[in-house]
Symmetry: C2
Subunit: 369 residues, 2 copies
């Protein structure tokens, strides 16, 4: 079955008795008008019959456009990034492009290595989901002259286009929500400050608190991971008297807050209300179902891909930032504060008070955002 000699343009030309260049023109939509209609038809028919498939490599080499887009992620398996990749793949496919993905983790030098590798593959552009607020990888891409779009996070200096969620506004929604429920002493488990998401959510929290005339209480987590949320949550519980709500910068951190509450024998939302960020899959199923700020990661991926394709088409001097509006999803982890009635601790039959299983250490640190 395997066609011993692969069908090339030249072979098609021989088969139809014309020059390869004529075949090329006939096969290309845009140049077909340069070829006599009957000849074009004959060529098309022959291509069909022989099962011709163009070698994109050769075309790319000649034209300088590979129709490949490099995508660099910190963690493919993370529920935040896989929908982003899905959105990217969707838009790229519709435009005839394909994503080449690299799972680069947090290591900048590794990221740079992947960038170089992708550039060697002559990708037409890059989408980075890995950047920190001051990012050397972006500089590297810029130096190499490749169109770049950032997604989910962006860099401080704004040298390239980015698609992000309105992180500050998201925290605003969260603060307003719990304030409306009657909370006044509200803490924040912040994300890493070197990531734009961490920084902006923290400042959004601060601004919203100030607007309500409330004092901020912030503890920063080292990473976006469940375990990393426990310590900061405990510190808030220990140092902030009268605390009734904790807003986490991320759903995984919120789950860490759950762990912390349990270890202190506190209930949610009875004693402490909790809000997350991202609306990861299944957080509507944890106990209690998590109130969180929903971000459409798939949409972010889509927009990022669209933006990049535009920049590639237009010559890369647009440089925009697209900010997607987040949305609050109210579930059962938030409620009115138990006004001074003291903290209750109820144990339902045969289970942990909050339904949480014992803490299980993850092998791969959950990164996130």
């Amino acid at each position: 079955m395997a066609p011993s000699p692969p069908i090339t343009l030249k072979r098609l030309a021989e088969a139809t008795g014309v020059h390869p260049s004529t075949v090329s023109r006939a096969l290309n939509e845009k140049t077909r008008h340069l070829v006599a209609a009957d000849v074009a038809e004959r060529i098309l028919a022959a291509a069909q019959a022989l099962g011709y498939t163009p070698n994109r490599l050769a075309a790319s080499l000649r034209t300088g456009r590979s129709r490949l887009i490099g995508v660099i992620l910190p963690d493919i398996a993370n529920p935040v990034f896989s929908p982003i990749l899905g959105g990217i793949a969707e838009v790229l496919a519709a435009a005839g492009y394909s994503p080449v993905v690299a799972d680069a983790g947090d290591d900048t030098s590794l990221q740079t290595l992947f960038v170089d590798n992708l550039i060697n593959h002559q990708v037409d552009g890059l989408i980075l989901a890995t950047v920190t607020r001051e990012d050397g990888v972006v500089s590297h891409c810029l130096a190499r002259g490749v169109p770049v779009v950032l997604v989910n996070r962006f860099e401080q200096r704004g040298r390239v286009s980015a698609v992000v969620s309105d992180d500050a506004a998201g925290m605003c929604l969260a603060v307003d929500h719990v304030v409306a429920q009657g909370h006044a002493v509200i803490g924040h488990v912040a994300g890493p400050h070197h990531l734009s998401t961490g920084e902006l959510r923290r400042s959004g929290y601060g601004a919203a608190m100030a607007r309500h005339g409330l004092a901020p209480h912030v503890e920063e987590a080292e990473r976006y991971a469940r375990e990393a949320g426990i310590g900061p949550a405990l510190r808030l519980l220990d140092t902030v008297p009268g605390l009734t709500a904790i807003l986490a910068a991320n759903d995984l951190l919120a789950l860490g807050v759950y762990d912390a509450l349990h270890s202190r024998g506190l209930s949610c939302p009875g004693d402490i209300s909790v809000v997350g960020h991202n609306d990861m899959p299944l957080v509507d199923l944890v106990a209690p179902p998590l109130t969180t700020v929903r971000i459409s990661h798939r949409d972010m991926g889509r927009e990022a891909a669209r933006l990049l394709l535009e920049e590639i088409a237009d010559g890369a001097d647009v440089r925009r930032r697209i900010v997607l509006p987040p949305e609050l999803v109210t579930r059962a982890s938030t409620g009115r504060p138990s006004g001074g009635a003291g903290r209750r601790f109820v144990t339902p039959l045969g289970g942990r008070p909050d339904g949480l299983p014992p803490f299980r250490r993850q092998k791969r640190p959950g990164l996130g955002d």
Copy 2:
């Protein structure tokens, strides 16, 4: 900053005063010995100084090997497939290959389209996670003479290598577990029979039940999705007297079983024990935490990539099937059956009895497995 004229082999040759072919040989580890040591050193230095980066496209065109691997998934964002992709990317990167991914959904014609596109990009091989038991896409790949490895699912005819979990053994673990707890009337919510996972888990269930001398009760779900699990679960509840346990072919289906139990006012594990399959992220956090059969999807991806690279290196006439052993993870959704005491229905304060939120329709149908 952007280097106006990209550095090519020829330019490097001019800079060092030798012929391009000599530069090529000096740069390639394997041919460097053909070049005088001092010349080679000079060339390396110049390459370093000028920031030379090879054009892989050109090399691929000449050598016929692109170092690109196509990966076709039914759903990138699905928690089953994203770790698989992660494992693939990990192994490929270590070997100097890059994955080009396509999110092709369930549509065979679309899958074929993607396959052709990837082949046009001259990928050195393909990894398919989409195949059904009788798969036309595999035939297509075979006809086009591209090395192929299947992952997670495999096709009936076994024409190509595959890496899968031991689905039958997994169901065996599940059956043995609930039988050991004292259950005797045990139902199975099966996955689609046109997928190897659905078929094998179903037959594994059947075999294990037979071994224990128990009668099987099977209802098949149309898709691997939470919603798709509800109907079959209800049918089991309605038609199987004395039912005390339901084994789902998939975690998402198991969550659908939860929904069904709730709609009938039944508790888990009080009235019905439930077992899932896959150990998706966060199923340890739902209420009650799900007992499930763990599959290391990341390992599956790794093995698939390794297998494919081997086949590419050895000439593709190996054709193996790697079967990974699954593992039972016992959590709180299974327990001793409440021997004939009748079904209790307990409503904890201010929540649904099982802690489940109202059913929320997903926009994208969860595929899975």
